[in-house]
Each structure stands twice: as structure tokens, then as C-alpha cells.
């Protein structure tokens, strides 16, 4: 059994009257997973790249998502969209996905098969040739 330690540190010296400094960790006993960079095949949910098949994971899996692109700042061309439901709501568009601009990351649990319906974890980019760094541990 492998040991995976996830830690996030959140600091700000000038947001509130008192400085904010938060550091928390989780230690996970894992039997499978890893980190890799994956090219994204599409710029829409149709045909989006499967990052993780739901059938292989259950509640308690941890996922790491990182957009290594440089932050654009003036256009929306640096974005990666990650869907937990293999879909994008047509009425609200990309708001139904986790959106990562260049340099942004996310760390969160994923339920895999422990849902009403199994849905793979999928991603697509806002422009061609986007790459996501993806990690999963369970």
C-alpha cells in the first residue's frame, strides 16, 4: 500500500486585517494512481478526452488538475474545462465544468462509480493543443 500526502497552503498578508495562513494535509493509502500530462483532443465536450474512467474508481479517489499553460489575461484561450458528468449544460455552458485558466489547479475528491449513473471524468480545452496535468490516487 502506497502513501500519498496531499497538502494545500493558502496565505494572504493583505486581504484581511489579520494575515491568513492555512495549511492542511490529507494522507491517503493508495493502490493505484499517478501524475501525467495529457493532450486534450477537442475544444468541446463532444469527444472530450477521458481523464479517468468511472468504472475504475469509487468514492474517496482524489484528483489533481493543473493547467500548465501560461496565463493569458486578455482572452479566454488559456482555459481547460473538466466535466464530472460527461456533459455541459447548454443553458449555462461552461459553468457546469471546472474551469482552469493558465496556471490554475484544483485538488478534490471524485466519486467514480458511487453515483446515480457512472460518468467518466473528461476534459477539453478552449483552443487546440492544450495539455492538462492530471493526477488521480485511490
Amino acid at each position: 500500500m502506497a502513501t500519498v500526502t496531499n497538502t494545500i497552503t493558502l496565505t494572504s498578508n493583505d486581504l484581511t486585517s489579520d494575515a491568513i495562513s492555512l495549511s492542511i494535509s490529507n494522507i491517503l493509502s493508495a493502490t493505484k494512481g499517478g501524475i501525467s500530462r495529457i493532450p486534450l483532443a477537442t475544444t468541446a465536450i463532444a469527444g472530450a478526452t477521458v481523464l479517468a474512467p468511472a468504472a475504475q474508481y469509487t468514492e474517496g479517489a482524489k484528483i489533481w488538475l493543473y493547467n500548465p499553460a501560461a496565463r493569458d489575461g486578455s482572452t479566454a484561450n488559456d482555459r481547460i474545462y473538466v466535466s464530472l458528468s460527461e456533459a455541459v449544460d447548454p443553458t449555462t455552458g461552461t459553468f457546469t465544468t471546472i474551469m482552469l485558466k493558465g496556471g490554475e489547479w484544483a485538488l478534490l475528491p471524485w466519486m467514480g462509480t458511487t453515483k446515480d449513473t457512472d460518468k467518466n471524468l473528461e476534459a477539453y480545452g478552449s483552443s487546440g493543443a492544450m495539455v492538462i496535468e492530471f493526477g488521480i490516487f485511490q
Binding site: 500500500m1 502506497a2 502513501t3 500519498v4 500526502t5 496531499n6 497538502t7 494545500i8 497552503t9 493558502l10 496565505t11 494572504s12 498578508n13 493583505d14 486581504l15 484581511t16 491568513i20 492555512l22 492542511i24 490529507n26 493508495a30 493505484k32 494512481g33 499517478g34 501524475i35 468514492e59 474517496g60 489533481w64 488538475l65 493543473y66 493569458d72 489575461g73 486578455s74 479566454a76 464530472l84 458528468s85 449555462t92 461552461t94 459553468f95 457546469t96 471546472i98 474551469m99 482552469l100 485558466k101 496556471g103 490554475e104 489547479w105 484544483a106 485538488l107 478534490l108 475528491p109 471524485w110 466519486m111 458511487t114 453515483k115 446515480d116 449513473t117 460518468k119 493526477g135 490516487f137
Partner: protein
Amino acid sequence: MATLNLTSTIAASGLTTDELSSTVLLTNASITTGGIQRVSTTAVKASKAVLLDASTFPNPTNTTSVYLYVKNIGPNTIRLSVLNETGSNEESEISLTAGTWMMFPWAAATDVTMYQTAAGTSVVEYGVFG
């Protein structure tokens, strides 16, 4: 404007032939609001509670972002709907068992709702920075 520094560190031993060690720093100097607080909830699936009212937060733009941190203090598992999940489907929900947490950029387009998977009272720590 304030500066927010978010650092993620992942370290794994015994998972792959070579040990994993990844650290990524995200700095955002355009933060104007935020903080960390705790709330309690008795909500269950049939009566979800609103943790965050999206209308009180600005949507991210090309130059701004909103970051959401949530930790389940316990004791029950908490499930959160953060991605415009307005029905009762669990496909887009995120499950936080007691003691676990998450952080990701939030679109702030629809409310974040939450419920416990068992009856009782749980405590949730959260922070929104945007």
C-alpha cells in the same frame, strides 16, 4: 487588491517505481474579497442547504478568478453541488468525507448547495476568494 498564494503539494511513496513529488504555486494578486469561516448544517438530501449564494460573488473574467476552499470538519459525509447541479443527480456532486477538503476555481454562476449523507449535524469550513 490583495495577493493570495495557493500552494499544492503532492508526495507519494510506494505508488510508482520512482517517488512522486509535485509542488505548484498559484499566485493571484487581484483578490479583493475573501476569508475563512465555519458553519454547521443539519441538511440532508431531501432538503439541501445553500452554502454559498452565487449572486453575492462576481463571475471570473479573463483577469480575475474566484477560488473555493471547503473542508468537512465532520462527523458525517457531506456532498456538495457546485456545477449547476440543480436536480437530485449525483453525477456532478463532490463528496467530502469527514476530515477531507477540496479547492478549485469556482465559476460562481450557481449556488453551492450541500447535504449530509446521514442525519445529524455537521460542521463545514469554507473560504471563497475572488
